[in-house]
């Protein structure tokens, strides 16, 4: 979540800055193909509320 609940109130969380090995891992991460194929095969219906 972009915000979290802490000490009884909601506070916004800063977006991350990823560096070093973590950055390398994130850039080289693999796309979860099975999950993506499942999502793309579905025909989600969205209607305006």
């Amino acid at each position: 979540m972009a915000f979290k609940y802490e000490d009884g109130k909601v506070v916004q969380v800063s977006m991350p800055h990823i560096t070093g090995e973590d950055a390398k891992k994130m850039l080289n991460a693999k796309v979860p193909k099975e999950f993506v194929a499942k999502v793309k095969a579905k025909k989600f219906i969205t209607v305006a509320a």
Partner: protein
Amino acid sequence: MPYQFNSYSASKVKSEKRSLLNAIDFSNNHTRAEREKALLSQAISFAGNNGSKIYTIKDTSSILKGILGFIALSASEVMIDKTKKPVVLIDLLLVNNNYRSKTYEHLDNSKISQLLLEYAAFQFYEVREHIGVSYLILYPDGGKENINLVEYYKSMGFTYATRKHEWMYMKL
């Protein structure tokens, strides 16, 4: 498809703020319920100012009644080394307490949270049709202490972005 998503415009969110806040049952645990209500309220405030987009999911077969859950999405960016990467951010994912942790055969044999995450990925690809985005990211409620939630997100394909174990991402 036995379920559908409702998208809420900012004006609709503003006019229906109260009914949205009362649309689902929160946790039976009072402290947790307060937390969930506060987070939903925050997401609704964001959405009322176009800072986030709220969607709800409903069972069109009416086996499960009312709103099954919420998901709120927004555009953001993360810094990876010195490069800014555009992302779709899951601001909120909240399932009606009555329907949590259960798998429903008539809903693609899925949990509600699973359908919401799949929908987030679907919307990610819709966005990508128009503008570049690289990752789907989220900040697990309760942080790394919420082990069950973190493990669930991992099982869906999310990975911790850093060794601080805060943000999680899925490359899409």
